[in-house]
Amino acid sequence: MINKSKTLFDKIWKKHIVKKIEGGPEVLYIDKHFIHEVTSPQAFEGLSQRGINVFRTSNTIATADHNVPTINQHLPIKDKLSKIQVETLRENCSKFGVELFDLEHKYQGIVHIIGPELGITKPGMTIVCGDSHTATHGAFGSIAFGIGTSEVEMVLASQCLMQNKPKQMRLNINGTLNKYVTAKDIILYIISEISSSGATGHFIEYSGSTIDNLSMDERMTICNMSIEMGARGGMIAPDETTYSYMTERVFAPKGDDFEKAKQNWTKLFSDSDAKFDKEYHFNAADIKPMITFGTNPGMGININKTIPYFENQKTEKNENSYNKALNYMGFKQGESLIGKKINYIFVGSCTNGRLADLRIFSEIVKGRKKAENIIAYIVPGSKKVEQQAKEEGIEDILNKAGFELRQPGCSACLAMNDDKVPQGEYCVSTSNRNFEGRQGEGSKTILASPLIAAVTAITGEIVDLDIFFISRSRPSV
């Protein structure tokens, strides 16, 4: 008998196929297309050269995020090239009739933060953006993936893409999480297990009791980093957590419409005997607080462990590259990172720039003081996050501890604006990439959770979390 069981991915994919080219790719319809200033100008230029319009402006949303300053956003952008790029986005959006959440707009923010928080991202959708972390939206049970600029042009021109159906992988995580372990640690752990290319060619579905128990903010952190294993995207089947997050979001359906939509969403899950091309099982109990020591996100370890010797690790295959990475970071095989002095902290990005992340950070720094040597970029993922952080008193806590809350944008995640980590400096960063120079020329990035970032910001060095929380208890007030 033919197996008719379908995965969550199959169900959504099938609904979006306009047609199949004989012996070639399928034409996939895209429900939502997010664009931003960095990867769109050449696509709009392409439309102009061909003399065509945006096919479906209502499926397209733009924001300015990658290249924008995170202070004084009301002033003209100082950097000439950044200014031109943001202005080009403005011109293109008005010329082609695309809605833009510009600087100072109440909905502006990092593209992958605003889609979900505004209720634009919905279960069952196909979503693309010229940015590889589009996978974030998969947390709602949608097929979401990053594309290049030529593809941005295709979607603008036709609302479709030519795609070959990817392979599918399921990652099951079950059990209760250990102390100090956050969603960021889960995903850094998984990448350190299957490597930075372990899921290339695949779409991932995350499932298991550990995932079920996560909030939407946490699920987004996990799906966000799917690309760091090489996957096209990652997704999680929608459930009550998803629906309750979605109620009352600005652009989400309301009342009866919501109930009707929900009836469809509840069909979005992988059938119990659905087949995956690859499947892994992880035990939550094995996951410890994680940091990275190298120059790709797969080079991660339990914060209390030492850097593995080349022959004792499984993700890096080329000794040359392994040594070059350690050399760049200034670390040695067999060394512990506990006690390393750190001068920079970045809290933000589409990985950890949501309210939940700022809450974790502020909870720890509350009543404590920032270490003298630390320079911190604390950057909300969106205007809404910024506003809520102010309303909840998070900004106040930050200020009292010696930190400052900046304005929304990608900031030091890719350092296209002024928020850069200087040459040779270490930065404990809640973002998603520790590539050479990612946070500025010669910068050395250590990826970690907002919890570890907070502890590092207080101590000015990497420390054993148990020791920190036991011996450095808050001064009583």
Binding site: G24, Q42, M125, T149, S150, E151, M154, G230, A261
Partner: protein, 198 residues
């Protein structure tokens, strides 16, 4: 799009794994609003030091090696989706990148720009690296129509896999947008039935 059919060339070897697109073209060079002249910043931080002087030990600065083929280790082009990486490689003058494994988005971006991401086996890749390091004047023949890559001097070859549709696009210089624009009516019809459950 420029057509690609056949090529005979030397290789420029860069034996590193997991070369991400931030290395191929660092973010600070993504501020342009057109596709031109990214080649001068290809591998910028590996190629130049802080004072913008060429680093002698980097392969692009080594006159021993030249040609239109870039030879790299596995998982090439991982990380950011920036198509600027493919533009930079193309603009520098490369027409083919040979690796044993490419990141998905980079592969698509390359193909959409007439740059051939040519995937060979790990064994054949190390064979080419050995030959090229031994003799920088090792000629490689890439025959797209027959999906064949050959070390001319020894006749050693491998057949590589490439999506038939993409192959036709490359050979004819035809791109996806041309096709998608030609089926706009079908797309509109599809929309009427309702694409999604929303």
């Amino acid at each position: 799009m420029e057509k690609f059919i056949k090529l005979e060339s030397f290789c420029v070897p860069l034996n590193m794994e997991n070369i991400d697109t931030d290395q191929i073209i660092p973010a600070r060079f993504l501020k342009a609003i057109n596709k031109d002249s990214f080649g001068k910043n290809l591998f910028r931080d590996w190629r130049y030091n802080k004072n913008n002087e060429p680093k002698a030990d980097f392969v692009l600065n080594d006159s021993t090696y030249n040609g239109n083929i870039l030879l790299v280790g596995r998982n090439f082009g991982c990380g950011s989706s920036r198509e600027h990486a493919a533009w930079a490689i193309k603009d520098y003058g490369f027409k083919v990148v040979i690796s044993s494994f490419f990141a998905d988005i980079f592969k698509n971006n390359a193909l959409n720009n007439g740059l051939l991401p040519l995937q060979v086996s790990d064994n054949f890749l190390s064979l080419i690296f050995d030959k090229v390091y031994n003799n920088p004047k090792t000629l490689i023949r890439v025959d797209l129509a027959n999906s064949k890559i050959e070390i001319i001097e020894t006749g050693e070859f491998e057949n590589f896999e490439i999506n038939e549709y993409k192959k036709t696009c490359l050979i004819s210089g035809y791109d996806d947008i041309d096709y998608l624009l030609s089926i706009k009516n079908e797309i509109s019809e599809f929309e009427k039935i309702g694409s999604s459950s929303l």
